[in-house]
Amino acid sequence: MPSVRPYLAAFRARFQLMLQYRAAALAGFATQCWWGAIRIMVFAAFYGVHAAAAPISLADAVTYVWLGQALLALQPWVADPEIGQAVRTGGVGYDRLRPLDAYGFWYARTLGWMLARALPRAALMLLAAGIVLPLVGLGAWAWRPPSGMAAALLFVPAFALMTALGAAVLMLANIVVAASLNERGVNAVLTPLVVVFSGSLLPLDFFPDALRPFLHVQPFAGLVDIPFRIYFADLGGGAALQGLALQAGWTVVLVGLGRLAMERMMRRLEMQGG
């Protein structure tokens, strides 16, 4: 059994490096507050005319928006920029020389990159939307705590799985970037797919009802829609466990696919640069 230490070290190094970008975190936070506010006002307007048509309550929709803004950086919208750089400069050669599992090594770094960008923003957002808003009397627009102890406990694995699944999706994107030397094409395809099918754009149940059987089983649902609905107990008990199983199942499938693709790609990889 190989040691996990090198992977933890790769994760920690990337995490600590990304934490240095405080201005970026603040700017991202400001952008996401504004974005969240617009989304919530739009929701409120539609709920005002016909609340009965909505699949979840307005308070839950508001919480959904804030959770989504807080954890935006966990969404696999764009491939890890350092992978493309490493392949173009030939730096990927060093990765090939390491006596490590290449997939695991990149996965750990990608995970560090995602979490380090997400966690400071999530903390700021929690402070602003979860604590300041209720204090200034805007409790109706606030980010609420999980609906009950069971939801809170179930959200812990749901959060871990949404992160693991997000990193697995990003790894597939990273591998395509490494094979094609350029991240633009991959990102152009990946971003709209993830935004729509994860539930970032709208909770999946807001789309026409006929699409539900498909929307609820595709892999991206595990990135936003499933964990957030577990958080406010829209998915509880058996349904929540089913959601967790879906997240875990797709994570295993995508990691497996990623490993296969990575092996093939690494065998054909030509070194660039010098």
Binding site: A27, W34, M41, H50, R184, L202, F207
Partner: protein, 267 residues
Amino acid sequence: MNALALYGRYVVTSLRAQAQYPAATLMLTVGHCAATAIEILGVFALFDRFGPVGGWSFGEAALFYALANIMFSIADMLTRGFEVFGTDFVRTGAFDRVLLRPRAAALQLAGHEVRLSRLGRLLQALAVLMLASSLVPIVWDAAAVAIAVWAVAGGVALFVGILVLQATLAFWTVESLEVANVLTYGGVQAAQYPLNIYAAWFRRLLTFGVPLACVAYYPVLAILKRPDPLGAPDWLLPLAPIAGFAFLGLSFLAWRAGMARYASTGS
């Protein structure tokens, strides 16, 4: 060579550079089109589920969406130099070189790069505009077309003004700050729904602070020949886009103040 001819030369150079890689340019344009088109899916899903809101149907809302996206796509295409001003010019010291040339710095930045791929957003906006025209009985007579063109011109001026302000900030912060995205991408996001569905403080901000409502909401009312549900007088509606040009003018005043205190980073 006068300023306009020089600017034309910049544009032609930039377009020829992109024509060297036609497949890449085309793919980037298609990608940008797809990435920006998904927003209309969200708008559609909400109207489909809830029905009309604030007196607006999906077709009418699509008209707001289309105009806001057309304005922004054109402004976005023309202002790359201002967008990357902090990162690529101030931080690197490249702005010193710009200042050595006997031409206005703003003109050189405006001609820095004209990205055709940004027209992807324009394509999807035009498609939505056609969709809106088929869903709502809009009479595209000469007056309506004139108001639409005038509104788009005002909107382009407004968005260019926001990007000039973003660049101006870099005189103080050195880096380009992502915060301006609040007003650019966030502005498009806000302007693609009718104004009267928003809270009062937000409406005031969009009318008197960053006058997005003046270039999108009020002129669309004039095109649809509808009175403002919030009570703005009818004669004001087609005049409102002038606020976009006023905003651009003020942005350039700020830009000049920034230029006056520019100190090179010395790299």
